[in-house]
């Protein structure tokens, strides 16, 4: 069963054509990574998936339903969740409130989900009354992850989990991604750090100037000559 499918999506930003006929899919329980340099259109792809920008042409399907004209909240309710780039916590709200926001559309199940998040990140339990803005970078990352997991998503979107982070945090991040993946959640990692992400992914896409230029299994991509030169370096 395909959880998420983009079909020939064209997205514009103002007058500029950003995404050109993007097609990709993520199956249930899969770990897929979307590789590309910054400004290759990765963030725009994510925004298109979430409905923060509307494509001019093509379709976004979640769980087999065409949601291209649906609001973001509708798509989230269908089982998406995202850990945005640079975390984007609500700094003046408490850790607890931040987590609550993650479960905004699932008020009933939130106490159970809360326990699960606290099991995953015990340190957050002690800090639940603290304002999110006062946490250390590592703790903030945990809140961002926990917030996304609060809605018990079927598909977790990770936007640049290694961007601008200390090596130790990158490492922890990817451990948690794997952990979440092993519990049966599908994950789409949007990254430009090909090394780490391909090593844990099932499949991958490479985005270049708004187009998908490579799509293959992670193993094959790791062996691809062009990709090695550009992304694995040295």
């Amino acid at each position: 069963m395909t959880l998420l499918r983009l079909r020939d999506v064209d997205t514009y930003y103002g007058e500029i054509h950003i995404l050109q006929k993007i097609s990709l899919e993520v199956g249930e329980g899969e770990l897929v990574c979307l590789l590309g340099g910054n400004a290759s259109g990765k963030s725009t792809t994510l925004k298109t998936i979430l409905g923060l920008v509307t494509p001019r042409a093509g379709a976004v399907e979640i769980d087999g339903e065409d949601v291209s004209r649906r609001k973001t909240s509708y798509r989230i309710a269908k089982g998406l969740a995202i850990v945005p780039e640079n975390r984007r916590l609500f700094a003046p709200m408490t850790v607890h409130e931040n987590l609550e926001m993650g479960a905004y559309l699932r008020k009933g199940a939130s106490s159970e989900a809360l326990e699960r998040v606290f099991d995953l990140f015990p340190v957050l339990k002690d800090r639940r009354r603290q304002l999110a803005g006062t946490l250390s970078g590592g703790e903030q990352q945990m809140v961002a992850m926990g917030r996304a997991l609060m809605s018990e998503p079927k598909l977790l979107l990770m936007d640049e989990p290694s961007m601008g982070l200390a090596p130790i945090l990158v490492e922890r991040n990817f451990e948690i991604i794997q952990q979440v993946h092993q519990s049966g959640v599908a994950v789409l990692v949007v990254e430009q750090n090909a090394n780490v992400s391909l090593s844990i992914a099932d499949r991958g896409y490479v985005l270049q100037t708004g187009r998908i230029v490579l799509a293959d299994s992670a193993k094959a991509l790791l062996a691809n000559e062009d990709l090695r030169k550009a992304y694995l370096g040295r």
């Binding site: 995202i82 945005p84 916590l89 609500f90 700094a91 926001m101 905004y104």
Partner: protein
């Protein structure tokens, strides 16, 4: 010009009472500015005119129900009805304005929604002028429910509820103040405790991130406009009841002062709006009483400048730490 040689306690208390009532009115207007500014970073110039429309709606209800001299229903339900009608009308107007004048401009440079807001303000003001004329429309709340209309005897609204140092504190003043306080408390609770309140805070901090959590930010913003405009509508009726008159241009200056109150108190803070409103109301009342009417607006202006220069984030505002 005469200088008050001896301290006149009666005058002072009178001005104090007037200032507090006026101030709570400004506080209600300030809240609308503050909430909208908090969530959209938009200076909603049309807000003062929403308040004006609220005042006219109250006037309309009053006229439809027989007018002040011979109301067809009892005074208490009449006033409640006036408030309700004005609040609903203003609230809906706020939502419509947001939908058509501001929402299309979310991603535009800052100046575009500002110009759009000026356009809306201009439109509303002149519409009221065209429909109701340039003359003042009288609420005649002074005689509302008067026992003997033929002799224009004061009605119950101006009855003294209690007396301080020979100064009568009128029923209407107490109504205005207590309504304001009640609305403030309700609003504070709404924002601190309820899901929509938290969604509002999240949206005002980071709209896109809030959307990513599944919050329907369009709806949250519309709700914010609705609540802010409802408060302005209530303030409009209060103004009519307090000063017995409404006119098409009343929104402009009241809007400016409301915004001043919001800024002085600290944009985004509810107690700040209350404090700022009181400060502006008191300043206006005191300056008017001791220095003469023409100085009152300039005094308000002076306070604004002073506060902004000393504490740019307002009295109760939190200083934003700019991430660089």
């Amino acid at each position: 010009m005469h200088l008050p040689l001896a301290f006149n306690a009666e005058l002072f208390i009178q001005l104090l009472v007037n200032g507090i009532t006026l101030g709570s009115l400004y506080a209600l207007i300030a809240l609308g500015y503050s909430m909208v500014y908090g969530i959209l970073k938009l200076l909603n110039f049309a807000h003062g005119d929403v308040y004006m429309i609220g005042a006219f709606t109250g006037y309309g209800v009053l006229t439809l129900l027989g007018g002040p001299l011979s109301p067809s229903i009892a005074i208490a339900p009449l006033i409640v009805l006036m408030f309700l009608a004005a609040m609903v009308a203003a609230g809906l107007l706020g939502v419509v304005i947001e939908r058509f004048a501001y929402r299309p401009l979310r991603e535009s440079p800052r100046i575009a929604p500002l110009i759009s807001a000026l356009g809306v303000s201009f439109f509303l003001q002149n519409s009221a002028l065209l429909l109701f004329g340039a003359q003042f429309r009288s609420y005649d709340s002074f005689v509302l429910g008067s026992k003997n209309p033929e002799f224009f005897e004061p009605g119950p609204l101006t009855d003294a509820l209690f007396v301080v140092k020979n100064v009568n504190v009128q029923l209407i003043q107490v109504i205005v103040l207590s309504t304001t306080v009640a609305l403030m408390v309700a609003l504070t609770a709404l924002i601190a405790k309820t899901a929509i309140g938290k969604a509002m805070r999240a949206t005002s901090y980071d709209r896109e991130a809030a959307a990513m959590m599944g919050i329907d930010t369009d709806r949250v913003i519309a709700t914010t406009f609705f609540i802010g405009s409802v408060l302005a509508g209530a303030a409009g009726v209060m103004f009519g009841l307090l000063f017995s008159q409404v006119f098409h241009f009343m929104g402009f200056l009241a809007g400016l002062k409301g915004f001043t109150a919001a800024v002085v108190g600290g944009i985004g803070s509810i107690p700040g709006a209350m404090l700022g409103g009181l400060l502006v109301g008191l300043a206006e009342s005191m300056a008017g009483g001791y220095l003469g009417g023409r100085w009152s607006d300039l005094t308000v202006f002076g306070i604004l400048i002073l506060v902004l220069l000393v504490r740019p984030s307002g009295l109760l505002g939190t200083r934003a730490i700019h991430k660089v």
